[in-house]
Amino acid sequence: MGEAGEQHSDAELIALSLKDPNSFTGLFDRHARTVHRYLGTRAASSDVEDLVSETFVTAFRSRGRYDAAYDNAQPWLLGIATNILRHHRRAEGRRFARLRRLDRERATDPTDEWVTDLAYAEQSDRVGRAVAAMDERYRDVLLLLAGPGLSYEEVARALAIPIGTVRSRVSRGRAQLRELLGLSGKYPDEVTAQRAATEGLLE
């Protein structure tokens, strides 16, 4: 999509694409990296490219049903990507199975306890394994919030669930993630304040 595409909102691009299907490539150019990154957090790297492709092809074929009231199509695309991930759970499973295996291997080493001052790479492994162990419904909302940075309303739209459900899943998901990360106990005041600030941004 050229400069003309930049002048249009996502909703306008989608509307244009009903007459000129090539306009839809503008949506790809605008959001493919975000979709790729989101899928990359949830699927084996060997599957991500195909899943990105399937997301946009599905979106293209569903564009007639896009709700033009929403200028930003990113939640819609990420919702489609999430649905496709569910359809291809094996793809996600391959990634998470590897992480769980790492977790089991590590668990055999009694000296390997996670502490905050470990190298960041190891922290990252730890977080990855915790995400792998999360309940999928919580994982959906947390990854949409923390990755692409969707708002609660946008997550609700992406997953076609009520916003109240998003709020409760965020709350429970964070608690579960905290527990899986070994951050047991109640939130220290400092963290509570940080959380409040963060949620303020997300809201």
């Binding site: 990154r37 492709s53 094996r90 923390a146 076609a160």
Partner: protein, 455 residues
Amino acid sequence: MIDELELLRQHLDETADPAPDLAKARAQLELAIAAAGPKPRSAIRHVRPKALTVSGLVAVAAAAIVLSVTVFSAPPPRGHARSTPPVSGLLPVGTQLRLLSDRIAQQDIPSLQSDQLLLTESHIAVQAQVNNGQAQATIALDVKRWSNGTGQACTSTLAQPAEFASPAQQAAWGGLGLRDAPSVQPVTGCLGGNTGSGAQADSLTGDGQLLDVSKLPTDPAVLAQELQNGTTGIPAIDQLIFDQANATIAFQRAAVLLLGPVVGATPEFESTLYQALALLPGVTSLGSTTTHDGQAGLGFAADSQEGQSAIVVDPVTGRLLELRDFDDSSALSSLATAYLGAGPLQVTSYGTTLQWLDPVGPPAVVKSADLPADVPLCIFGTAKPGIDQQLPTLEGQLDQQYGHTSGGSSFSGAGALAPGTPATIEWTFSGPGEQFNEYLAAARASGLFSSVNVI
């Protein structure tokens, strides 16, 4: 102190691919766009009476779906005793269609038990042209379809290696980055869920919607008008993307309804459809016509500037026997992408001509358990109103209790596809077995669904 959400963000930043390769994904999107775009101008037009508007390798798959006609329209077994004389092809076209309307009204619509499926098979020939005829090939398909009584189906498609008119054509085909034979055989999938995700969910009209014909008018004149105006109320029919100048569009819409897969079909519906066909302008009789596999039928066609679309029907029963030169805009990317080679893709446009589609023998009622091992088995659940948020919970519970299904699952929230659409869930299994039975029993016992269908 540590905030778990911040840790998660850091983790995502750390693990993100800084320079993802998006070229293949973009190429596949362009492929889908090309399939839905303006009709490519093909050299084939000069040698064939008709070049199709919507085409592409993907329409190979569309052609595969076209075989759904055989679900309710397959011919009787050969040698079947016929006490009723055939309708003469010498009669005026309107008279033929009205007589056939009476015949089809006497045909039974097969009804299936919950553990039964209707197996049909079709042979299809498709001519594909790429980049305005820069490369051309003919592809033969053998498509088997297992359908249940509510419109869901599983398909298995075997494609023969592409045939070329000359070595130069074969070289051109390969030079565009295409394979002679699909990389996956057979291509299998489930159809008819409302999940709207995945190429396997495609229908004839390309968006996975079922054709519910139960609310169509019973007055042939009203139906004919709605077919012409695209106001049947069935989006998949009304929004068919044909060349708007194509005078055959009403005829083709009627043909799509004859093909299905449809829900709510009755002999009366098909009878009304034939009467409506008789009222459409431009529908002509081809007289006695022999199908590609030698069955005697009556041909009907609609001419346009582009050529001619035709159907062939049984002169005794009125059942559809064959399609010729049929346009469709649907896409089944799983089959199209199976023709993509490993090298750079040079396809900028492509189209196909469905040369013919012939059912192979009569449909057979089989048990669900008789599905071949390589064909997926699916459970489709449609949620009761207002409880769709409970479906992911159930999905998670069953996942934990019985393990991941081999083919994954797909959930679509209420209104996710269009306002008013119910939430649905679809579980896919590699075949029947204990896990399938456990999921099915649990879904039915959950009380969350207005319907639970199996295919």
